[in-house]
């Protein structure tokens, strides 16, 4: 009937508006990265570039001069760090979560509260003491330091998600394995973990995204090319090339590729992770 047709049209329009709200800022950035320089100082700006200009991408990805090398070094460091943090968080987090859920280590109320609290601590609180400690240990400006810091920050969330998931695995499966003569550690590694693929993957993805974008700690703790991460490199870009937005938007787009790909391909996992009650929103 006409009523439902009108409803359909209204809904479609609303959905399109919602997509515009979500994507417009990103579109503007992307468009800037492929626009010729002339377009960028046009008043008012164009909605579509007059011609496609790949110079910015060439510059950021290949140019040898010091300026953009810092960005590439940043991407490299961020990749190494984020993957390592994801792996460690999943590994250690699953072990800890299992211990809490099935092996009776630490109990109920306390656990929920501590894990939540740990996720909600603003990193700003930690930096002063961490800086003093890290410099005394000579760990400043190393990838190792960032990996340790990030892992510590991600573990509460990892443990939280995995704990939630382990609780959904029917105890009977594990109990029957135990009765059949498996040791508790065999149950963990040969039964529970293989069954937890999705949750492990979710945890890995969320921690990767989190580590990839972390800014404050990287800003305070790294300075040289050996350890500087992508967000810090971009912030430098913003300081150095304040009017060269073409370059900055290009760097931004490149830095967004991993998270965007992950969101497109693994959206289910991300959604799962968020709704399990993780609070790092």
């Amino acid at each position: 009937m006409r009523n439902s047709k009108i409803k359909l049209i209204i809904d479609s329009v609303l959905i399109i508006l919602a997509m515009i709200w979500t994507l417009l800022p990103l579109w503007w950035t992307f468009q800037t990265s492929i626009s010729p320089e002339v377009d960028l100082t046009r008043i008012p700006p164009r909605w579509f570039p007059s011609s496609i200009n790949f110079n910015y991408y060439k510059n950021v990805l290949f140019k040898k001069i010091g300026t953009t090398t810092a960005f590439r070094a940043g991407i490299f460091n961020s990749t190494v760090i984020s993957i390592t943090v994801a792996v460690f968080s999943v590994l250690l987090g699953s072990l800890a979560a299992y211990a809490i859920v099935r092996l009776g280590v630490l109990s109920g109320q306390w656990v929920i509260f501590t894990l939540l609290f740990a996720q909600m601590i603003p990193p700003v609180i930690l930096i002063t003491s961490l800086y003093v400690i890290a410099s005394k240990m000579g760990l400043l400006d190393t990838k190792f330091l960032l990996i340790s810091l990030y892992t510590a920050l991600e573990l509460p969330m990892a443990i939280w998600i995995l704990r939630g998931y382990f609780q959904t695995i029917p105890k009977e499966i594990e109990d029957s394995a135990l009765i059949d003569g498996c040791t508790p550690s065999q149950v963990l590694f040969h039964i529970v973990l293989p069954l937890s693929g999705p949750a492990l993957f979710t945890t890995g993805i969320l921690t990767f995204i989190s580590a990839w974008g972390e800014f404050l700690m990287a800003l305070v703790f790294t300075s040289s090319l050996g350890a500087k991460t992508m967000p810090v490199a971009i912030a430098e870009f913003m300081g150095r090339f304040t009017v060269d937005y073409g370059l900055m938007c290009t760097a931004g787009m490149i830095a967004s590729v991993p998270p965007i790909l992950i969101a497109l391909i693994f959206q289910r996992f991300i959604i799962q992770g968020l709704t399990s009650g993780a609070v790092k929103g």
Binding site: T29, V220, I271
Partner: protein, 290 residues
């Protein structure tokens, strides 16, 4: 090996890392908060001052202004951000062909690195060539380009806008999850009884998502106290300190003014506030779990 022993072994690495990286610095911060720090020759000299840092912070107008601004952020985030999130979640809950892709796209503001988001908005707000100016100009809503980030009243709202954009995906996803727990039969039954869409929303949807609403309020409030990256990159607290929120104030106290003790005291006051919220949240979550 007994279960308990295995358990402790499994949790050991995580515990060690968390204690060393999180617990110890927080404790050290607590210690620092009772001292006045002064950068002297070669070292940090500490003068014990008891509760002075705490009292000064509580009495300081700067702290309360920052707190007020942060609360203002939270207000917008909750009223506008969550409504937007709910609205879009309702849309995405309907059946339509490209729903999967739409749900993926809607995640983008959440997954992007915060610094990229900041630079994106900085460019959009650019007073000479930015897109916001361009858009409003083309729509005929403004005659002259506006220096969005250079005007104290405007600047804070521009940061809030960027923050809402960033926070919408989380609200959408959470509300979507909540909406999906509402059995379709409720809606079908009410439709048979002749209910209008509005009645269905107010009598069925809204009450049933109330728990999620509370959860979101708590999470968003705590998250807003963490805001740093956006302010750092967009306005550095300016102009004239008009965008200085609590997170940035703490960073500034420690790194611009080098008052470690005071920064530590502020952190603890903030921690206390967050503790209250976490407590509320854990109670909410517990009731959800049961």
């Amino acid at each position: 090996m007994s279960k308990k022993t295995l358990g402790y072994l499994l949790i050991l690495p995580s515990a060690v890392i968390i204690v060393v990286v999180l617990v110890y610095p927080i404790a050290y911060s607590g210690y620092l908060s009772f001292f006045e720090t002064f950068i002297g020759p070669g070292t940090l000299s500490l003068t014990p001052v008891g509760l002075k840092n705490y009292i000064e912070t509580i009495k300081s107008p700067q702290w309360w202004l920052a707190f007020g601004r942060t609360a203002y952020f939270v207000l917008y985030d909750i009223v506008v951000g969550m409504s937007l999130g709910l609205g879009i979640a309702l849309l995405l809950n309907k059946e339509f062909r490209l729903r999967g892709i739409a749900r993926a796209l809607v995640l983008f503001p959440y997954v992007l690195p915060s610094i990229v988001k900041a630079l994106m908005w900085k460019w959009i707000y650019n007073s000479d060539y930015g897109f916001l100016n361009g858009l409003l100009f083309q729509l005929g809503l403004i005659k002259d380009y506006v220096p969005w980030l250079s005007n104290p009243t405007l600047a804070i709202h521009m940061v809030i806008l960027a923050n809402i954009w960033e926070g919408t995906p989380f609200a959408i996803i959470m509300y979507l999850a909540a909406l999906q727990t509402i059995p379709k039969e409720l809606y079908e039954a009410s439709e048979v009884d002749g209910a209008t869409p509005w009645q269905m929303f107010t009598k069925i949807t809204f009450p049933l998502i109330k728990p999620m609403t509370f959860i979101l309020i708590v999470i968003k409030t705590v998250a807003t106290f963490k805001i740093f990256d956006l302010v750092y990159a967009l306005t550095a607290g300016g102009p004239g300190g008009s965008t200085q929120v609590v997170g940035y104030l703490m960073y500034s106290t420690v790194f611009d003014s080098l008052q470690f003790g005071k920064g530590a005291a502020m952190s603890y006051i903030l921690l206390a506030i967050i503790l209250v919220f976490v407590f509320i949240y854990s109670k909410l979550f517990q009731s959800e779990e049961d």
